[in-house]
C-alpha cells in the first residue's frame, strides 16, 4: 500500500501544517485555574455588596465554610485581605445552625431537596450565600459563579438577595446574569 517512512511522514506533517495554518496566527491560549478565577470574582464582587441589617461586624467580612470543596479551598487565601476598609476573615464551622456571625456563606454541592432545606435553615439572617455550581442561583443561592463553557460567569438571584436584605451595586448587576427563583 502507501509506502511509509519517517521522511514521508515528516514531509506530510510539514505540508499539512502549512496547509492548515497559513500565515501567522496569534492564539490566545493563556488559561487560569478555574477556582483562582472564581475566587477573584468573589473578591471583586464583595466590593459591590451591602449588608443592610448588619453593623456589628463592620470591621470584618466573615466568610463561613462548613463543607469544604475545591472552591472553598481557594477562598481560604482571601483571609486578611481588605475590601473597602473591611478585613476578610474565614471561619470553618460545624453546622448550618451556627451561621449568625457569617456575612458570606459558602454553599457546597447538594441534592436539590437538601439545598432547599439548607437555604431554609439560614433564612432572614442577612447572609450572602455563594456557590459555584450550574443552576444554583436559580435554586436560591444569591451569588453563583458557574462555569459556562470555558469561562466563569456571575449569576445573581435578586429575589433571594431581597429576602436576605442584601443589595448589590449597579456595576455588578450590569454584568451579572440576573435570575429569579424557578
Amino acid at each position: 500500500m502507501i509506502p511509509l517512512n519517517l521522511r514521508t511522514i515528516l514531509i506530510s506533517v510539514l505540508f499539512l501544517y502549512c496547509y492548515l495554518f497559513p500565515g501567522s496566527v496569534y492564539p490566545d491560549t493563556q488559561t487560569y485555574d478555574e477556582y483562582a478565577i472564581k475566587t477573584a470574582f468573589l473578591f471583586r464582587s464583595l466590593h459591590y455588596v451591602e449588608w443592610n441589617s448588619k453593623n456589628a461586624n463592620n470591621k470584618l467580612i466573615v466568610i463561613c465554610v462548613i463543607e469544604p470543596d475545591s472552591f472553598s479551598k481557594t477562598i481560604q487565601s482571601l483571609s486578611q485581605r481588605t475590601v473597602s476598609g473591611r478585613v476578610i476573615a474565614l471561619r470553618n464551622l460545624e453546622s448550618y445552625t451556627d451561621v449568625d456571625e457569617c456575612d458570606v456563606l459558602h454553599i457546597p454541592m447538594k441534592s436539590s431537596s437538601l439545598l432547599q432545606q439548607l437555604l431554609k435553615t439560614i433564612e432572614n439572617r442577612n447572609i450572602l450565600t455563594i456557590s459555584d455550581h450550574l443552576g444554583y442561583a436559580k435554586n436560591g443561592v444569591i451569588l453563583n459563579f458557574p462555569l459556562e463553557g470555558q469561562k466563569v460567569s456571575i449569576e445573581v438571584n435578586i429575589d433571594a438577595a431581597n429576602r436576605q436584605n442584601i443589595k448589590f451595586s449597579a456595576k455588578l448587576l450590569r454584568i451579572a446574569n440576573i435570575v429569579g427563583n424557578k
Binding site: L6, I9, P27, T31, A36
Partner: protein, 657 residues
C-alpha cells in the same frame, strides 16, 4: 600523617560538595505553595470586567462522574501519565487496580482484567478516541503499534467487568478507553525528546497546535521511537533448548514512526465536529518458539475518525465514523484489514428517566496470506463481514438524587455466530454525597475470532516424518459470561478515598471440552492526599480462577493471585517532583507445558525538574531493583525480560507568535 590530613581535607571537600549540591537542589526560593496561588495573586488585581474574559484551564470533570458510576471505573489522568515517567501505553496499566500487565518481550504485552492473560487476551475492548483497537483476526490488541503522542492523552478510562450492553461484543472483562485532548487544549508548539538505556533507546516528537481562525483549533504531530533489547530469561520454556543463553541480549528491539492530526471545529453553540487521523510505520523483532525463530514484524497502518457531537441540557446526539487500515507482515503470516465503522447515539432525559439508544454498523474486510514457511494460514484467506448493532438503556432515578436503576441491552448480528444479546442491570445508591454503593448483573459475549474459526496450522517436527495439521472448528460459538459485581466508594475524609469492588464471573465456554470457568476476587483502592504537595495511592487485587473440564478441575492459572501497587507523587520543592511506583505480583503456578512464573517486584522512580512552566525535564529509572522476570505465559514466543532502564527526557512548549 600528611596523606591522612590530605584525604581528610578531600573528604571534607566532598562532603561540602554534597551538602552544597543538596542545598542547591532544595533551596530554590519558596514561592507561595503552588501555581494556583500565584495565579490568584495576579487575578485579585483585576477588575471585574477583565475577569469576565478569562479562560479557565479545563480540568477533566470525570472524577465526579467516576464517583457516581455503577461500575468499577479507574481513570489514569495526564498528570498520572506524566509523573509515571512511562513512555509506552501498555506499561501505564500497571497502576490500574485489577488489571494484569504481562510483558512478553520488549515490544509485546498481554493485558487483561479478571481473566486469562495472554498475548491475545481477547476479552478486553480497547478504544482510542472511539476507534476500536481490537484485532478481529486473532482477538486482543497489537500493543506494539498502538501509540499516540503520550503528552496529548487527556485521560484513560478503564472499566473492569463487562460493558457489553453499551459497547458490544468482546467487552467481556473490561474496557480501556483512551481519550486524547481536544485541540483547544493543545494550541501550542511542543518539542520533546528523550534518550535512555535498558528499555527505550530514544523517543522524539513534535506537536504543532494552533487556533484555526474563527472556526476552532487544530494540531499535527509526529513522533519516532526506538525500543531497546531485553534479555533472554532462565526459564524452562520447554522449547528454549539452550539455544538462547539467559542474560544475553534478546532479539526483541523495535522502532516506530507515527504522525497524526486532530481538528476540532466549533460548528455552533454546543456542537462540536472533530476530524482526526494517524499513520504509522513500525518494525519489531521477536523470537518464535519454533523455526523460523528470529522473526521480524513489519507493520503499517492508518486511520481517520470523524465525530460530531451536539449537547443540550437534556439531550445529546453523537455520530461517529471511523476507517482503520492495518497491515502486518512477518515471517509466518501476512495480513491486511480494513474496518469501516458507523455509530450513532442519542441520549435524552425526561422526568426521572435518561434514555440512551444507538445504532451501529461495521464492515470488516481482511486479506491474508501464508508465507513460504507454510506454518499458518486462514481458510478462506480473505473475508468480508458485517456487524449490525443496536442498544437501548434507561437510567431511572427511583429516589431523587439517591437511587438509580440502569437497565439495558445491546443486540447484535454478526456473520459468524448470528444474533447476540447482552443485557445489564445496575443499581446505584448514593448513600450520601460522600458514599456510594453499587451492584450489577450483566451478560456479555465474546464472539470467536477468525483464527478460532478458520485457522490451519501445520507443525512439522524435523525429528519425525510428516507433519501434523490442525484445523479449527468453523462452527465455534460465542463464549459468554454472567458477571455479578458489587462495589462501594467512600470519600472517607476530604483527603481520603476508598474504592472497593467485588466480582464473580461465570464463563460458559463452548470449546470441545465443555469447559466452565469461574473467576472471582476483589480490588481495593485507596487514595490519600497529605497536602497540595504530596499524595499517595495504593491498591491490592485478589483474583482467583477455577476451571473445570467435564467435571474435573484443571489448572488454568495465567494471572497472579495477589497484586499490589503503590505510588507516591511528591513535590519536594516548587520546581522539583519526586515520584515513585511500587508494583508486586505473586508467582504463577502455571499449567503443564508453560513455565512457572516467580513473583516479581518492580520499583520505578522519577525525578522531575520544571524550571519554567514551558520546560519540563525528568529522569526516570524503571525496574530499579533490576528484577528480571517473565511476566506472562506464552507458548509461541520466547519470553524475555527487561532489566533496569534509565530515561532522560525533556519537553518544551511555547506559543507560536
Amino acid at each position: 600523617m600528611r596523606s591522612n590530613s590530605a584525604s581528610l581535607a578531600l573528604k571534607f571537600r566532598l562532603n561540602l560538595l554534597i551538602v552544597a549540591l543538596a542545598f542547591g537542589v532544595f533551596s530554590f526560593p519558596c514561592q507561595s505553595n503552588d501555581e494556583t496561588q500565584q495565579q490568584l495573586t495576579q487575578l485579585l488585581q483585576l477588575d471585574i470586567n477583565e475577569l469576565m474574559d478569562l479562560k479557565v484551564t479545563l480540568p477533566s470533570r470525570h472524577e465526579e462522574r467516576q464517583f457516581d458510576s455503577a461500575a468499577a471505573v479507574y481513570v489514569i489522568t495526564q498528570e498520572d501519565i506524566r509523573r509515571s515517567g512511562i513512555t509506552e501505553i501498555p506499561e501505564l496499566f500497571r497502576m490500574v487496580p485489577g488489571l494484569h500487565v504481562g510483558q512478553i518481550d520488549n515490544n509485546t504485552w498481554a493485558i487483561s482484567s479478571r481473566s486469562n492473560l495472554s498475548r491475545f487476551s481477547n476479552t478486553m475492548l480497547v478504544l482510542l478516541d472511539g476507534r476500536t483497537l481490537y484485532n478481529p483476526l486473532f482477538g486482543g490488541v497489537y500493543w506494539d503499534v498502538q501509540d499516540t503522542l503520550i503528552q496529548d492523552i487527556e485521560r484513560i478510562e478503564v472499566i473492569r467487568g463487562p460493558g457489553g450492553s453499551l459497547w458490544g461484543a468482546n467487552a467481556v472483562d473490561g474496557i480501556i478507553n483512551i481519550i486524547s485532548k481536544s485541540a483547544n487544549k493543545t494550541a501550542e508548539t511542543m518539542l520533546y525528546g528523550g534518550i535512555g538505556d535498558g528499555d527505550q533507546h530514544y523517543e522524539a516528537g513534535i506537536r504543532l497546535g494552533s487556533q484555526l481562525k474563527n472556526i476552532g483549533h487544530g494540531r499535527v504531530y509526529a513522533k519516532a521511537r526506538e525500543s531497546d533489547q531485553g534479555v533472554y530469561l532462565d526459564t524452562d520454556q520447554s522449547t528454549n533448548d539452550g539455544f538462547f543463553n539467559p542474560g544475553n541480549d534478546a532479539y526483541d528491539d523495535g522502532n516506530q514512526q507515527q504522525a497524526g492530526f486532530r481538528m476540532d471545529f466549533d460548528v455552533a453553540t454546543n456542537s462540536l465536529l472533530t476530524v482526526q487521523g494517524d499513520v504509522y510505520s513500525a518494525e519489531y523483532h521477536n523470537i518464535r518458539v519454533t523455526q523460523p525463530r528470529e522473526n521480524t514484524v513489519d507493520a503499517k497502518g492508518g486511520n481517520i475518525i470523524i465525530n460530531w457531537n451536539q449537547q443540550s441540557a437534556i439531550s445529546s446526539i453523537n455520530f461517529k465514523f471511523f476507517y482503520d487500515y492495518t497491515e502486518r507482515v512477518d515471517l509466518v503470516f501476512e495480513e491486511q484489514q480494513d474496518i469501516y465503522d458507523f455509530d450513532f447515539q442519542h441520549s435524552r432525559s425526561f422526568e426521572r428517566h435518561t434514555l440512551t439508544w444507538g445504532l451501529g454498523y461495521r464492515h470488516t474486510a481482511d486479506d491474508t496470506m501464508k508465507t513460504d514457511t507454510g506454518i499458518f494460514a486462514l481458510n478462506p484467506a480473505s473475508l468480508s463481514d458485517d456487524l449490525y448493532s443496536a442498544f437501548i438503556q434507561d437510567q431511572i432515578e427511583l429516589e431523587e438524587d439517591q437511587l438509580f436503576l440502569t437497565i439495558g441491552s445491546k443486540f447484535e448480528h454478526n456473520d459468524f455466530t448470528g444474533e447476540e444479546y447482552q443485557p445489564t442491570l445496575r443499581l446505584l445508591w448514593k448513600q450520601s454525597p460522600q458514599a456510594t454503593l453499587w451492584g450489577s448483573v450483566t451478560r456479555a459475549v465474546r464472539t470467536p475470532t477468525r483464527a478460532e474459526l478458520n485457522a490451519e496450522l501445520v507443525f512439522c517436527d524435523p525429528g519425525l516424518p510428516g507433519c501434523v495439521q490442525s484445523i479449527s472448528d468453523p462452527d465455534k460459538k460465542s463464549e459468554s459470561v454472567i458477571a455479578s459485581e458489587i462495589g462501594y466508594r467512600s470519600q472517607l475524609t476530604s483527603n481520603a478515598l476508598l474504592d472497593l469492588a467485588l466480582f464473580n464471573n461465570n464463563y460458559h465456554d463452548t470449546d470441545e471440552a465443555g469447559g466452565a470457568t469461574n473467576t472471582y476476587g476483589f480490588e481495593i483502592l485507596s487514595k490519600y492526599i497529605f497536602s497540595d504537595d504530596w499524595r499517595i495511592e495504593g491498591s491490592y487485587t485478589y483474583h482467583r480462577g477455577e476451571k473445570q473440564n467435564n467435571g474435573t478441575e484443571v489448572n488454568n492459572n495465567t494471572i497472579p493471585k495477589n497484586t499490589f501497587h503503590f505510588r507516591s507523587y511528591w513535590n519536594i520543592r516548587p520546581q522539583w517532583e519526586l515520584d515513585a511506583l511500587f508494583y508486586y505480583a505473586s508467582a504463577i503456578d502455571a499449567p503443564v507445558a508453560a513455565p512457572d512464573l516467580e513473583d516479581m517486584t518492580r520499583i520505578d522512580l522519577r525525578l522531575g525538574w520544571n524550571p519554567y512552566k514551558a520546560l519540563r525535564t525528568a529522569l526516570s529509572v524503571t525496574n530499579l531493583l533490576d528484577d528480571i522476570h517473565g511476566e506472562a505465559l506464552e507458548l509461541q514466543r520466547i519470553n524475555t525480560g527487561t532489566g533496569r532502564g534509565i530515561f532522560l527526557s525533556m519537553a518544551y512548549s511555547f506559543e507560536r507568535k
